[in-house]
């Protein structure tokens, strides 16, 4: 809820740091009886829906987003944007704005009472283009996505348009949309449900999230304050001023600070969310860390951790992504980040199916890969949650034991580390060529891992590997000497008559040879979403490319087999 930032009227909120543009409702053609079949409808223009839209649009697919609200996300939600999301946003076309506006960080401190018990730095190669995390408010992220979408005439957002129900037959999906000027039905070949935690699509299809919810409650407070407190994730467990509570603080751009504090089991929520009460608590906390600057509250909201997922993210012609598919406790900073990863996995597959290049079975791999990822994300986030808001007597005892032991004993401090940025690797699925992962590799990214965004030294500073990846598949061919190898490979791929691209990128850079444990003739095949599909110490195009086409259910391939 807005606090000192004035609420001007019901439904509007003037933030202290963000200018909300309210987009006027535009009458949809369906309201005047004009109807057509759209290739893709996306319900919800949150960060996930807009990322799916952006990636589809740049692949030439027409998309229409339905958005209930008339603006981007109001108030406090995600602040911790992981490196992987920054990479995905930039590849989808946002430019570097999110990264450049955000506050970069790579670690943080935890305190128990008044002792420092953890000072952590995330381990990552120091020459990657992006830091492990940046802090920036979700509304800013969404604004960048919205602006990037403006470059695509084939993507449109219908504001103030609420999906109220959805139904499908084998051929199409029909979404019923409520607007200020009446309700209409809209037809799509595919519907992507990115309509958040309370997904109307999920309800319409009778699908249920399963998992656990946590009792512990937090208040999330954003304040504006000019302060020189450091960036990063700072946590105070049982600070002297607030015994029995945990307080988290993050620096954001525009002099905004996110303060999350744990409420006690007996605290009355209605009372605790009152600005007067919040002011009192935050004031006491800030004074206790030596902060003297003036500040004002921008937003207050209560939070309780949920860890839930659908069993499957595909239901016929409907695909679920982001919070509509899974809810991950905030302590792992993996909710939006996981959703953006869903978008990145889904968009190319959906584009290939809509374009008629691949059988729609390819979309089942979206579901299996991302359900698996959600479980990995939930496991990380739940570990963090069990520490931040111990759900049982045993967890509470362990939390106190670990924290008090950590004051003097470093061996135990690792348990306090939130592990918000451990990157996921796809652990299974038809699109991973495991047996290609020859034991002769002693290092380098494994199949299923993200192709790291390392610098390309030979091409001058500023150029990074992910910038070289094609829109579709990319074959990184390690070849220092043979100048014709890449050309030959390109010609060969050309002859295969594949409907999408397989870019061949010749790598000569010694540092990349080392990072990929490559020798002349080694190849890594990178998927359109940037994950390594397979790698070969000595690449054999004939067998491998056939296998790839089969795995992704390429129709050209199937028809060739029939021939």
């Amino acid at each position: 809820m807005p606090a000192e930032a004035q609420a001007t009227a019901v439904g509007t909120y003037n933030s202290l740091y963000f200018d909300y543009a309210h987009h006027p409702f535009q009458r949809a053609p369906e309201l005047d009886g004009e109807e057509r079949l759209y290739p893709v409808i996306i319900a919800g223009a949150g960060p996930v829906g807009m990322t799916v839209a952006l990636d589809l649009a740049r692949r030439g697919i027409e998309v229409v987003l339905l958005e209930e609200d008339d603006t981007v996300n109001r108030g406090s939600r995600a602040v911790g944007i992981a490196r992987r999301s920054l990479e995905i946003f930039e590849r989808a076309g946002t430019g570097p704005g999110i990264f450049e506006t955000g506050i970069s960080w790579k670690g943080g401190q935890s305190y128990y009472r008044d002792s420092l018990v953890l000072d952590f730095v995330v381990q990552q190669a120091d020459n990657l283009r992006h830091p492990p995390m940046v802090s920036i408010a979700q509304c800013n992220v969404e604004q960048y996505l919205y602006e990037a979408l403006q470059n695509h005439p084939n993507a449109s957002i219908r504001w103030s348009s609420k999906l109220v129900s959805a139904r499908q037959d084998g051929e199409e999906v029909i979404a019923s949309v409520a607007t200020p000027q009446g309700q209409y039905d809209m037809r799509g070949e595919w519907l992507v449900a990115c309509d958040g935690g309370r997904s109307a699509v999920r309800k319409a299809l009778g699908k249920e999230l399963k998992g656990s919810s946590y009792e512990g409650r937090y208040l999330i407070v954003d304040i504006q304050m000019k302060s020189s407190q450091p960036a990063g994730r700072r946590v105070w467990f049982a600070p002297p001023e607030f015994p029995g509570s945990t307080i988290i603080m993050h620096k954001q751009p525009f002099d905004i600070w996110r303060i999350d504090y744990q409420l006690g089991p007996d605290d009355d929520l209605d009372e605790e969310v009152q600005p007067r009460r919040v002011r009192e608590r935050v004031d006491r906390f800030l004074k206790s860390i030596g902060e003297t600057a003036d500040w004002a509250i921008d937003w207050i909201s209560p939070y309780r951790a949920l860890s839930l997922s659908l069993d499957s993210y595909r239901e016929g012609r409907v695909l679920f992504a982001g919070d509509a598919a899974h809810l991950v406790p905030i302590f792992g900073a993996r909710g939006m980040n996981g959703g953006v990863d869903d978008a990145n996995n889904l968009a190319w597959k959906l584009a290939y199916v809509v374009s008629g290049w691949c059988d729609d079975a390819l979309l089942d791999s979206y579901s299996s890969e991302r359900v698996d990822a959600a479980h990995q994300n939930m496991a990380f986030a739940e570990k963090s949650t069990r520490f931040m808001t111990p759900p049982t007597f045993g967890h509470a005892v362990l939390q106190e034991a670990i924290l008090s032991l950590a004051v003097k004993e470093p061996f135990i401090r690792d348990l306090i580390n939130p592990r918000q940025v451990t990157e996921l690797r796809m652990t299974a699925g038809p699109l991973r060529f495991d047996d290609a992962d020859d034991i002769r590799f002693a290092g380098g990214p494994l199949p299923g891992a993200v192709c790291p965004n390392l610098p390309l030294c030979t091409d001058g500073p500023g150029d990074h590997l992910q910038g070289r990846l094609g829109r579709d598949f990319t074959l990184l061919l390690f070849q220092k000497t043979d100048t014709t190898a890449a050309e030959e490979m390109r010609a060969r791929i050309e002859r295969m008559n594949i409907p999408f691209g397989i870019d061949v990128v010749q790598i000569r850079d010694a540092s990349l040879y080392a990072a990929f444990d490559a020798q002349d003739g080694t190849a890594y095949l990178v998927r359109p979403d940037g994950h390594v599909a397979g790698r070969w110490r000595q690449f054999n195009a004939d067998t491998t490319l056939d296998r790839l086409l089969k795995a992704i259910r390429c129709k050209t391939m199937e028809s060739r087999h029939v021939d």
Binding site: V397, E400, A401
Partner: protein, 68 residues
């Protein structure tokens, strides 16, 4: 039987006494936190830290579980 080593009785007795004294110092409210700290350190000293699971199983025997 999990522990086969024969511990000299003077050591057993000394451990008994110091543990009792330490528990008295801590008091009942924080006894579990205190003992957990001890266990975490002992576990870190084990050759195979996962052995703790076996110890827990043995310790769980013949103790009345809490009424739910």
């Amino acid at each position: 039987m999990l522990i086969e080593a024969k511990i000299p009785s003077h050591i057993l007795e000394a451990n008994w006494e110091s543990l009792a004294q330490a528990l008295n110092t801590v008091g009942s409210e924080k006894a579990s936190v205190f003992l957990t700290k001890v266990v975490l350190m002992l576990a870190a000293k084990l050759d195979r830290p996962e052995t703790l699971r076996d110890f827990l199983d043995v310790a769980l025997q013949d103790i009345e579980p809490q009424q739910k």
